[in-house]
């Protein structure tokens, strides 16, 4: 599949991740549900891209297949030129990581922040001493704006949603992946923390040249964060292009509807005026 905005990338730059004819079907032959229907796309190194669509459109299923948490029914995923089915799990997860949607269920309530972050060292730097690990954890926590001295030995229930989501980012930083899949990372946290976390992710992407695949249903957030948008509906990619191109001149009725559904303060004020 030819990417709509391939021209935005410098010539000669190879795709970091390529998704080719990916399909996921759940259920039996009689009662099958096609969650992802023959989609193809690619992500360049350092690119921030959004996979956008309503609930049930197949975004999270796509993300899970990219993370090897779910097997595709058909199609393949190529990472740095290699089919991911030929890579070892550990080697792949060292380079591709994920931030989950729910900051509450992403943490095992039996373990402290220290244990949570410590899991990251299974993928990388397993040879470090305990004090070196703790120092790195503190450093990554500070870099996402968390007070390590105060929080490192706290339990998840003592943290806010925003703090938990920042910890997820701190964990990703400890691993240092080339691609971070962020599945609605701000959908379950309050608005005041939302922009801070998005800005932080974008800063980290620029600083570490890390690609980010945002999974979101919020076209405003996608436009704010992404170089490129992929619009998904009923398992298919219905539109793709640069964020500006898609938002300024949507080609598909579904994209137009998504844009029309974005709430604005202005609109509310206008309606009040009409009522008055």
């Amino acid at each position: 599949m030819v990417l709509a905005n391939a021209v935005t990338q410098p010539e000669g730059v190879r795709l970091l991740l390529e998704v080719e004819n990916l399909t996921k079907i759940f259920g039996s032959a009689r009662n099958e549900v096609v969650a992802v229907d023959n989609i193809s796309f690619g992500i360049y190194p350092g690119e921030v891209m959004s996979l956008l669509g309503e609930s049930g459109s197949g975004k999270s299923t796509t993300a899970r297949m990219i993370l090897r948490l779910s097997k595709p029914t058909k199609g393949r995923i190529i990472f740095k030129g290699q089919d991911i089915s030929t890579l070892k799990d550990i080697d792949y997860w060292r380079q591709v990581q994920m931030i989950f949607q729910d900051p509450f269920s992403s943490f095992n309530s039996f373990y402290s922040v220290h244990s949570f972050l410590g899991k990251a060292f299974r993928l990388t730097n397993n040879h470090l001493s305990e004090s070196e690990r703790t120092a790195r954890m503190e450093q990554s926590m500070e870099s996402v704006g968390l007070n390590a001295a105060e929080l490192l030995f706290k339990r998840p229930h003592e943290l806010s949603g925003g703090q938990r989501q920042r910890l997820m980012i701190a964990r990703a930083l400890l691993i240092g992946p080339d691609l971070l899949v962020a599945d609605e990372p701000t959908s379950m946290i309050d608005a005041s923390s939302r922009v801070g976390i998005l800005n932080m992710l974008m800063d980290l992407s620029r600083k570490h040249k890390m690609s980010i695949l945002f999974i979101t249903h919020d076209i405003g957030l996608a436009y704010y964060t992404s170089d490129r948008l992929l619009i998904m509906n009923e398992g298919k990619i219905v539109e793709e292009g640069t964020a500006e191109a898609v938002v300024d001149a949507p080609a598909q009725p579904y994209t137009k509807r998504l844009l029309a559904d974005v709430p604005t303060l202005r609109k509310a004020w206008d309606e009040e005026q009409e009522l008055a």
């Binding site: 997860w93 269920s105 039996f110 299974r122």
Partner: protein
């Protein structure tokens, strides 16, 4: 943890159950170490009624029923405990593997579990007891344990199937955890309360199963248990001859032990299931 402990201590059912059970436990475990009597020593005649010499009378061979009751309680508790541990370990392992793996492994393990559920466990128990020559208290516990795990396996499998879809499990998976580590570190801790309660039920079931087998004459050899006491009482027609002291004390102790474990379970259920708590 502290909050759970406070709730446990506030539960009237749990406290009554715990006091009753600890009393039975002290009687059956500490008692024999203090008294130092041989439960097989003859101290009187056939079915002597309770007297100063034998507090609860004597059995069919003139042996002290009180001493037998003390040793028998200890043996029954040991068999129940071993049965509980074995049944819980097998049930949790089978259920967790089936629920976590899914697919063919799940179907195979649950198929075996369902077949075992449909066969009356008492039949399997009887056949196993007959087949095995050595029947010590430990062996009895193991036999009872390996026939009692299916219900635990089914419940654990259902919970594992649900828990494995949680995001913290996925996060541990993409951190490189193996399947065994995921089950032990990410899934089982969330089932601890259920597993503990299942163990208590299996413990209680183990004691009553031992009594059933022993009454049929398939109890442990060369030792006395509550079931073995009942077997002797039935065999020597203690009921018909009116020697109530030969069968009533083990029946009362069996009832108290099972009742206390049920109360402990109901109390823990209140603690772990907030909807059951009284305001």
């Amino acid at each position: 943890m502290g909050e759970v402990l406070i709730l446990v201590l506030r539960s009237r059912r749990f406290m009554i159950g715990a006091v009753l059970f600890l009393t039975v436990l002290a009687f059956g475990v500490i008692g024999p170490r203090i008294v130092h009597r041989d439960p097989f020593q003859m101290v009187g005649g056939l079915f002597d009624s309770p007297s100063e010499k034998a507090m609860l009378g004597t059995d069919n061979l003139g042996r002290d029923v009180f001493t037998q009751l003390m040793y028998g309680t200890g043996t029954s508790l040991l068999i129940g405990f071993v049965a509980g541990v074995v049944a819980t370990c097998i049930g949790v392992t089978v259920g967790a593997v089936a629920g976590f793996k899914g697919g063919f492994v799940d179907e195979l393990l649950m198929g075996i579990t369902n077949i075992l559920i449909t066969i009356p466990s008492i039949v399997v128990l009887i056949l196993l007891s007959i087949a095995i020559r050595s029947r010590s208290a430990m062996v009895m516990g193991v036999i009872i344990g390996i026939t009692s795990w299916p219900w635990t396996a089914r419940a654990v499998r259902a919970q594992t199937s649900s828990l494995k879809t949680r995001e913290h499990v996925d996060l541990a998976r993409i951190s490189g955890y193996t399947a065994v580590e995921l089950i032990i570190k990410e899934i089982l801790p969330y089932m601890f309360s259920y597993i503990f309660m299942a163990f208590i039920l299996q413990f209680s079931g183990g004691i009553t199963n031992e009594a059933t087998l022993s009454m049929l004459g398939l109890g442990p050899f060369q030792t006395v248990s509550l079931g073995v006491m009942l077997h002797w009482a039935l065999l020597w027609e203690a009921v018909r001859t009116g020697a109530w002291w030969a069968f009533l004390p083990p029946v009362v102790f069996l009832t108290i032990t099972s009742f206390s474990l049920m109360l402990i379970n109901a109390g823990l259920d209140e603690v772990f299931n907030p909807r059951l708590r009284k305001s």
